[in-house]
Amino acid sequence: MSAAQRLLGVIEVVDAMVAEGIIEKYAIGGALAATLYGEPIATIDLDIFFVFKKKQNTLVLSLDEIYDYARKRGFEFDHEFVRIDSWLVQFVESSHSPLWTNAIDTARMLPLDSHTLPVIDPEYLVAMWLFAGRAKDYQKIAIFLESALVERNRLKTVLEDNGLMVKWREQEWRFGDSI
């Protein structure tokens, strides 16, 4: 089995969650998305940003629907990850953040074998890393800028639309580049 088939095995499970009305929409983010656009970045997990089909009315967000589904399908899980084949999958509920829901809505469909994967686009990845603001996130931004993986005007629009321009200006010295 190839690495592509292993990833597609995970996507098949997430697509089944969509088909069963658990998840409304989703997209791949994080270091795996960075790998797909650019170069491999060591990561242990696969981040799935998603929105539940049924809106939750509780103060504390619960991922029980995801875990129940995983349990029924025989996948192991703990508080952070669901183990699907050889991947540790982290489900990140995104409805509370306009930045994340916009990122899902504008995801690109990347072809892999005979399938397509929804992957958060490079400009939104950069905006999300900027928002998260950890050292490893800033490193990924620097790599994306250096590798010309972002369309600068679009990045500027994404940052402005999501109220991140001030933070960008504060942090851009780290990237050795400007927009």
């Binding site: 089995m1 690495a3 592509a4 790998t35 797909l36 540790l88 072809p111």
Partner: protein, 81 residues
């Protein structure tokens, strides 16, 4: 310990920078399926490095990476059953 002259140091750094750039350009140009193979190779290499560090008295392997190893091994053994 022998030290390099400043000009020699600069030449070594320039060569490393060039090689890094060639390698990164190559990785970026790969089709997605191959990038995923390279990612898995990178994960294996990274884990080996963490393992070696632990064995030689350095920091222990982070819990998250242990989980990753366990998941990979479990999936591989399920496939061969």
């Amino acid at each position: 310990m022998a030290t390099l002259s400043k000009s020699r140091q600069e030449a070594v750094i320039a060569d490393l920078t060039r090689r890094k750039s060639v390698s990164r350009t190559y990785l970026r140009s790969l089709p997605l399926a191959q990038k995923l193979e390279e990612l898995e190779r990178l994960q294996e290499n990274y884990y080996s490095m963490l393992e070696l560090r632990e064995k030689t008295g350095g920091k222990p392997i982070p819990e998250r990476w242990r989980k990753w190893r366990e998941t990979r091994d479990q999936a591989a053994s399920t496939r061969t059953e």
